[in-house]
Point group: C2
Chain length 243, copies 2
């Protein structure tokens, strides 16, 4: 590597701890460094608040200093705050649950969900990660480059439901359509019996930072509604989001 070795090592240690608390010897084994090196790095990270020792002479874990810095980019809190009223609007307009998600590697991570007034509900996916190609939000994030689509399509794609698209060429064609229309529909591609429609959310630099979607049981969503009209509604709601 051509970077600053100590900084690279410090982050190797931090990444190790992000998987769970561990001791010096344990971390040293996992990052293939001598214990004294790891101990010195941990001591520095502890002084900076980036790690904390759970008890003297024992295990270390990631500290609040990391969250303080990460808060600058955390899409979670402020994004959820900004978007939630729009999810309420969307749930009311469609009569189905509405949700917010962001890219998380090659997955879509569900950050928030507002339920509809409907008595028959789908489950709440907040906190879940799903492969991007299987849901409308993921397709939106791929089509609008919030997830690198070529890199994504280079891997084998998993079929999760009866209508999951797994052919890269067909998916690319679909992406062009999604970009043109400004929204994506997924009909029983993630789960049999579930449909969803999503549109991208942009920040003040016009960068796509997430997607909102509405989802419901396939038998009633979109049901009698015109799919394109619903899609435009979701895109319009997404367009009203200000971050």
């Amino acid at each position: 590597m051509s970077g600053v070795q100590s900084v690279e090592r410090a982050f190797a240690v931090l990444r190790c701890l992000s998987g769970g608390a561990a001791g010096v010897t344990d971390v040293a084994d996992r990052v293939s460094l001598p214990k004294s090196t790891v101990s010195r790095l941990l001591s520095t990270l502890e002084d900076l608040g980036m790690v904390e020792q759970i008890e003297p002479g024992g295990n270390y874990r990631v500290g609040s200093g990391m969250t303080e810095i990460a808060a600058a980019v955390l899409p979670g809190r402020s994004l959820i705050e900004a978007v939630r009223p729009h999810l309420h609007d969307l749930a009311k307009a469609t009569g189905e649950a509405a949700g917010l998600s962001i890219a998380d590697g090659f997955d879509v991570l569900y950050l928030d969900q507002v339920d509809s007034d409907n008595q028959v509900q789908t489950r709440d996916w907040t906190g879940e990660r799903v492969p991007a190609h299987t849901v409308s939000s993921g397709q939106v994030l791929l089509a609008f480059d919030a997830i690198d689509s070529e890199e994504y399509l280079a891997q084998p794609l998993e079929r999760l439901a009866s209508h999951t698209l797994t052919d890269a060429t067909a998916i690319r064609t679909r992406f062009a359509e999604i970009v043109a229309k400004g929204y994506a529909w997924a009909f029983e591609e993630f789960l049999d019996g579930l449909s969803s429609v999503a549109a991208p959310i942009r920040d003040s630099s016009n960068r796509v930072v997430g997607a909102i979607h509405a989802h419901g049981p396939a038998y009633r969503f979109p049901g009698d509604l015109d799919a394109d009209e619903v899609g435009r509604m979701v895109a319009a709601t997404a367009g009203r989001v200000r971050i």
Copy 2:
């Protein structure tokens, strides 16, 4: 400093960027280091995904690598995930909105909210911070030591609504009662016309990590319901949470 200089400098740069995107010269000025040093550190941080350059040759900002590591300690996601079904139960049982919050310094931070089926709704406080003494969740967090109550009561207390308690002695008496009963009611103490009841959520070490509450307009909540019975219901729901 006795730590690893390069690591200390790298985090000085990161802290600088957590206040907003900046260029090499700007960061160098703020952290009092030569531009070549800052440039090299930024290059390493960029390789690690901890910062990203907004455009080539331009400003840097904190990258998603930080959030990946910080996710290990964020109380938000997994807690929200674990608690949300219980909020649904609580909203259904009380007919009012239910929410989840944690301590954030001397404030209560609302992490999640599930609305009721009621046509007349209160607003959604997700993402908001409020002074602990003014809401039932905060009183619970103070009474059960998730917030240091003596430290808290040493400061002047703000009156936000007509019934906000601001006398430290009266508040201490109330804490004893909250501990004994296992829940707290707040009647128009945060906002006139709003009542809420909260109970503590504990982790597997029996430590209080947050609170759940139900809240509604004072004219109908608790309304005809017995306040103590509702309180016990909230405490029971909180007791069913497993983290």
